[in-house]
């Protein structure tokens, strides 16, 4: 009899620890590493998010001018001339080189912090003309990679929480050769960004909530931290 109590106690601790690990451990891990295959994190169609839908519509309208420029250099506004060279010279590169080229080309563009009230999401053409800040860099890389022929299933813009500096950030994520590359503003494509927690991501087909089913965003510290401020 005296030996059974510790056994029960140990078994109970084991079960509780396993359950805690399953529940909370999964939640954290799901936002630390990015996965393109997490179907349970799919939230809704991209068109359901007006800010993104408007951006994609504007980009589609501007694509007429972009495509005309790529076809004929004399039709290029100054802001698209460099982009034309990148598209034409980069179209035959290997996918990994296309990613490096898109990342480095966009990272050399003008850093232009928008006033908070006007901090819209810029199209590729607007970004090449006026510059932008982090989400604009991420969006521009997204559209460059789409122009390079990357499938919509393999590229997304991701909103992250930087646990180190306690602030939000945006990056581009690319699915390439069974791994995920993170394209940030401050260096080459990386396979891991240890400080980032992926919150949402978006492409032309959908929106993913990386805390789906784990914790409601409206209740999360990340969402309420700066809840009164606008993008």
């Amino acid at each position: 009899m005296t030996t059974r109590a510790p056994l029960h106690s140990n078994a109970a601790r084991f079960v509780l620890a396993t359950l805690a690990l399953l529940y909370f451990g999964n939640s954290d891990a799901s936002t630390r590493t990015y996965s393109f295959g997490a179907d349970d994190q799919y939230l809704t169609r991209a068109n359901d998010y007006p800010r993104w839908a408007a951006l994609v519509t504007r980009h589609a309208a501007q694509s007429v001018e972009i495509d005309a420029c790529i076809d004929d250099a004399t039709k290029c506004p100054k802001s698209l001339k460099g982009y034309r060279e990148v598209v034409l010279s980069g179209r035959d590169l290997a996918p990994a080189q296309k990613v490096r080229l898109a990342n480095k080309f966009i990272n050399t563009r003008r850093w232009n912090i928008e006033p908070r009230r006007d901090d819209d999401w810029r199209t590729l053409e607007d970004f090449l003309k006026f510059g932008g800040d982090c989400e604009d860099y991420a969006i521009a890389k997204y559209f460059v990679l789409r122009q390079f022929g990357f499938s919509v299933d393999d590229v997304r813009v991701a909103i992250t929480w930087d646990a180190r500096v306690q602030d939000y950030h945006a990056v581009t994520v690319v699915h390439l050769d069974d791994s995920v590359l993170v394209l940030d503003v401050d260096g080459p494509p990386r396979r891991q960004m240890a400080d980032y927690r992926f919150l949402f991501s978006i492409n032309e087909s959908g929106i993913w909530d990386h805390k789906a089913g784990k914790r409601r965003h409206s209740d999360s510290p990340e969402a309420t931290h700066r809840g009164a401020q606008q993008l």
Partner: protein, 74 residues
Amino acid sequence: MKRSILAAATISLASMAAAEQPVAQSDVEARLDALERINVTAYKAPQADETKDATVEAILQKAEQAEHTGGDAQ
């Protein structure tokens, strides 16, 4: 103790099962609202990428030259 374990297991399994359910429309709206309210700031400015790839560098150089020749198309 058994009751506690059972309760914990039930709650956890129920939570995990709930996570598998389709997202309700009202919940979608709440999450999109949470996304809209996130303020992506500009705390991290671009820094030079020091990695060198001769092919990529050559293309970037051509792009830079193109940007500095001629004006806007009419």
